[in-house]
Symmetry: C2
Subunit: 270 residues, 2 copies
């Protein structure tokens, strides 16, 4: 099975894109003509994929948004790998955070049942919460290193905690080269330090778009020595670019715009 | 809708029990005569519930173990609230860890779709990751305060982090009286401090049984001023007490044994 990083490299080469589109089907935001149930969700997600799949390097379905539709949402999650063209990898945003045989069960769900090519994991429970995923050697395992939400200040966590996660990921990478990181885009200085401590792997950067990180700064700060090594995620700004019947075209225009912005920023910082 | 703590109080009174049985359907451990698929899982879980429901104060289905069966496992999770007698509350062990509208979607899945009476949450992303659950006023929201897994040492988290979680839960409890804690049973000194900092709410204590915490010490350390205020969880030692055709009876014997042990320990420490 092809390693996740290679799937990304191939999709990037084919579509000239470092853009990942997050699939967060939120019935409150569906175009008016779609039903707010599982049927509407299916039409919505299929249309988004059809209209953007030549513009992205990855799709990132967000578990919670599917689970809210109940078992039918999970059934759709299982069908997603076939709905997405085979040459575009699928990264499951699950942020699972459990240990031992529970983590093993989550890994089985993500990789054997849903057939995701990669997953996001909250790493703070330590290696017992990560290794059940990394034993799937070819799968990407993205450790949450940095979030930019206000509530992150509710606990006095060490200032260097996200660097500890980077160092931990680096130390794992010898045996598990598909270990990767998630790092919010809002603090480029942090991203620079993260890249220094984690020089070789992929970094997923959410928060561009509706959260407004600065693209050029992000790319400058997070690029790898050999190539970008970043997956830039945009969700809402693509999915909900229009609430009319033209939502799929509007999503295509938005994705096209972001792809170009990213590529321009790469050229500008080269 | 009745608050979770009251559901627990009523079930405890009725069954004279502080025992919670964790529902972790693991096909590797099913009795030999059951199939290792969703049908085996359904028979297994139904039999366990039927044979123990007069001995427990709560059931704790563990999401991952259901999700590993794919959408059919999730469908079963949705049927579980009806399979469990109405007077026994159901606590969904999900350890979700996400923010904003993703957390809202997870809450919708847990409370509106699966109709759980309570959920476990990893609180370290802060209030943004908790409030989408606590707005369901009657539902129990159990914050993970202390784990006893070896990997917990992989990051240099503050020694008092679990106390910070307790203080945080206490401060939330004014507005959200159904906020509760999860605290591993292996360190009674910690549990004593946790109870001092979180005097009024429920504490779920896993790790009794196959992880071998000392029951009397645990009860002494964690009891509330007015009543126990503890939910003692046992999973494997009940579920997999026998791998033969007598598994349901063996589970009943084990649950009965644990209920008695707990009640004896309460009497001994009174």
């Amino acid at each position: 099975m092809m390693p996740f990083s290679e799937l990304i490299r191939n999709a990037t080469a084919r579509n000239k894109s470092h853009l990942c589109v997050g699939l967060d089907p939120d019935p409150e935001k569906f175009p008016d003509h779609l039903s707010k149930d599982i049927n509407g969700a299916r039409t919505f997600v299929e249309s988004i994929i059809d209209s953007t799949s030549d513009l992205v390097c990855c799709y990132k379905p967000n578990c919670g948004f599917f689970e809210q539709f109940g078992w039918e949402g999970v059934q759709m999650l299982e069908e997603l790998r076939s709905m997405i063209p085979a040459h575009i990898p699928m990264l499951l945003d699950a942020k699972r955070s459990d240990i031992g045989n529970t983590a093993t069960a989550y890994a089985k769900s993500a990789f054997d049942v849903i057939r995701a090519d990669a997953i996001t994991v909250n790493p703070l429970l330590g290696r017992d919460s990560i290794e059940p995923f990394t034993i799937y050697k070819s799968k990407g395992v993205f450790l949450l290193a940095l979030t930019s939400n206000p509530g992150a200040a509710d606990f006095q966590l060490p200032n260097d905690l996200h660097y500890q996660v980077c160092d931990f990921a680096s130390s794992m990478a010898t045996n598990c080269p598909e270990v990767a990181l998630v790092a919010g885009a809002t603090r480029p200085d942090d991203l620079r330090e993260i890249r220094e401590r984690f020089p070789n792997g992929l970094i997923l950067v959410p928060g561009v778009g509706s959260q407004g990180g600065e693209l050029e700064e992000t790319i400058k700060a997070g690029s790898r020595h050999d190539d970008l090594g970043l997956i830039i995620n945009v969700s809402r700004a693509v999915l909900y670019a229009s609430s009319g019947k033209d939502f799929a075209e509007a999503a295509r225009d938005a994705a096209s715009h972001f792809r170009e912005q990213i590529n321009n920023a790469i050229s500008a910082t080269a």
